[in-house]
């Protein structure tokens, strides 16, 4: 049994002072008001504002290698894609384990206590998938490994180059290999329409959706419908499905996603970096979708920047403020709650640093002032997985993993 005295905490949708949490078997056994002057036994005090662990709903761990690398020569989408493939091509189970562990540790230190890994580097499988699971276990964060079906490089086009290593040949063969585990369709480009029925009824099921206008145009040319309509007609939308990006949607697409209660994962920092554009996140929620966030390409790993990005980019698109409250954004980001029976994930934000001081030490501080650098203490499943003192070591681990890929920086 571990217990913490939380100086301030986000509990039941509000900030409360002096909350005592008791943890057993990785879950909250008791959450109660604490008497600060007479603290219970050996409870360690977490100063600052403690919020539930944040969920990273879309990750390609190996993209961390591209941060700061893909902007060269002005960094078009094509220089990005070329470098992304170059990294993918040289990864082995060992080097991917090292890179993913360091990346997941960066996530943990930023406040993410779980990750949905959209995994399509299947060669050799199962060693590559096992490397990711082991990396998450060592970093101390929960992983949902979404084994991703990737069969074609475009509508009616066979896989090429390194993509060949990612293809199972057919969706049936993919399904035989994966069994009933968490699944993903890379995109409607990457799996032919006549094989999509294989994914019917699967959950969780993730799929990249309408990130670029070009995908929509090619889908319309190939099948006469939008990617969303295609997924809908194949029976693949619903509460067990997460569509990632959902940037370029028609009104009908928004209605289909909303009326089926499909989840939409928005990745603002990646959508900025890849010039995707600003999607209709608020309209999706109004239509009936649930929303989540992801650090995706890891150009940035900062859950607070993603949450703020939802609101800020909507402001840029509409020239109106106030689409979401900080409480709504926090609920979007949180993987759970600080409540009895839930996984004991706690993220403590320092409220007395240069960025956060004087901002109220409440949900607005978390969403509109804090950054990943302000996270001081992270507990996942009851275990301390990162404190500020670990930053140096995490940096060293990232440097180590990346210098084997890029050559050592001075």
């Amino acid at each position: 049994m571990t217990s913490y005295l939380l100086e301030r905490a986000w509990v039941d949708g509000a900030v409360r002072d002096d909350v005592l949490v008791e943890i057993e078997g990785g879950r909250f056994a008791r959450v109660s008001p604490a008497d600060r002057r007479n603290p219970t036994g050996d409870a360690a005090t977490l100063r600052g504002l403690t919020i539930p662990g944040l969920a990273n709903d879309h990750s390609h761990a190996f993209h961390r290698a591209l941060r700061g690398r893909t902007q060269r020569e002005r960094g078009t989408f094509w220089t990005w894609r070329e470098q992304m493939y170059a990294v993918a091509e040289q990864l082995t189970p060992d080097s991917y384990f090292a890179l993913a562990r360091a990346t997941y540790r960066e996530m943990a230190a930023s406040g993410y206590t779980s990750v949905s890994e959209f995994h399509y580097l299947h060669d050799p499988e199962p060693a590559m998938g096992d490397a990711l699971r082991a990396a998450a276990a060592e970093a101390g964060i929960a992983i949902t490994l979404l084994d991703t079906c990737y069969l074609s490089s475009g509508f009616g086009a066979p896989p090429e180059g390194v993509q060949l290593r990612w293809s199972d040949g057919t969706a049936e063969r993919w399904a035989e290999r994966v069994g009933d585990g968490p699944a993903a369709i890379h995109s409607v480009r990457a799996v032919p329409r006549d094989q999509l029925r294989v994914f019917r009824g699967r959950a969780p099921l993730h799929v990249h959706l309408s990130e670029q206008v070009a995908e929509n145009e090619a889908c319309l040319a190939a099948y006469g419908v939008t990617p969303t309509r295609l997924l809908h007609d194949e029976g693949l939308l619903g509460p067990g499905t997460t569509v990632v990006h959902a940037t370029h949607l028609t009104d009908e697409d928004v209605d289909l996603l909303g009326s089926t209660g499909t989840n939409a994962c928005i990745t603002p920092t990646t959508e900025r970096d890849l010039a995707d554009g600003i999607g209709p996140a608020r309209r999706l929620v109004a239509a009936g979708c649930r929303i989540s966030i992801g650090s995706d390409s890891h150009a940035v790993i900062d859950p607070f920047e993603e949450l703020r990005g939802l609101e800020m980019d909507e402001r840029l698109a509409t020239q109106v403020r106030g689409h979401w409250s900080a409480a709504e954004l926090l609920a979007i980001g949180a993987g759970g709650q600080i409540a009895v029976g839930e996984r004991a994930d706690l993220v403590t934000i320092g409220t007395t640093g240069p960025r956060t001081a004087g901002t109220g030490a409440d949900e607005n501080t978390a969403v509109f002032a804090a950054t990943a650098a302000d996270v001081t203490h992270v507990v996942a499943s009851g275990r301390v997985v990162a404190t500020r003192d670990d930053h140096e070591e995490i940096g060293r681990e990232l440097d180590e993993a990346l210098s084997t890929l890029w050559g050592r920086a001075p």
Copy 2:
């Protein structure tokens, strides 16, 4: 004479290893290659990547009080404005000194070594202006105090409420008080057209320009021209003039600003926060403008986020990557260069932390990976003004200054 051995530094438009800088009288006296194995005398080594000090070209110091406060009840533009006035109303020279010093110290720790303060809280003057100058001096950053003329609350509307305290009555009386110092026109809303001639030939001269569509519409209704055209026709554009925001411009506006070589200060994090929209920054440069950045409302104080924001928001608007190289962005942000005769301002970025490790330790690291939290050491005019060890004290100072305004946070 002080000297530093820079492990890596941005000198002459490129990253170089082992640079020795010698500083005398607050300026660089010598910049030369250093022999790392045989360092010169008592030069202190700055590990990581050192870049020139960054220039904050637009600040309202008192807005730091609003961070995390103005998003409540979904935070419309009007709740923001109401709170901004409530803070302005209660500031005294003493409380403004304390708030500004803490805010400027946050700036210094973030890598800004100079600030253009757009100052219109003139009551009592000169005590309020003196408070800002003293605050900057104590924080160790250079200040250009732009005494701002603010005469009317809208086109043809007299000042109201707290604005009365900011008005000199007429531009002539403003000019008598200010003499020939650095100047600003709050906006074309706030100074009637027939008084704009008073500002002709002044430099530096700053002015808020076309931040919101409503300003353009009201200007067209009042004078039949856009705000840019108005400034041009009154002879106020040119290399000594900086227009701030320049968000909603016609093609003719872009041409007028470019052909006169006017500076444009873009403030991406504020433009996100205030839902201004995305301005034509790249087109302004193509037309002939120089560009600078500012933290403006201090919703965020992070020069790297502003620089990256220039590129990222342009990507969101155009769905194309690669508008600026990292080197171009760094040149936009820098207040000078690491070169003989220049002011000795140095900003050192840690390149081995979670965000920056493995990203190349070059200009791309600075612009596309680092945050204010990665700044480890800041020198302004040859003097150390912030290191990472100061963060706690800066937070305490901010908390102190803000708790007198908002009541003490727990």
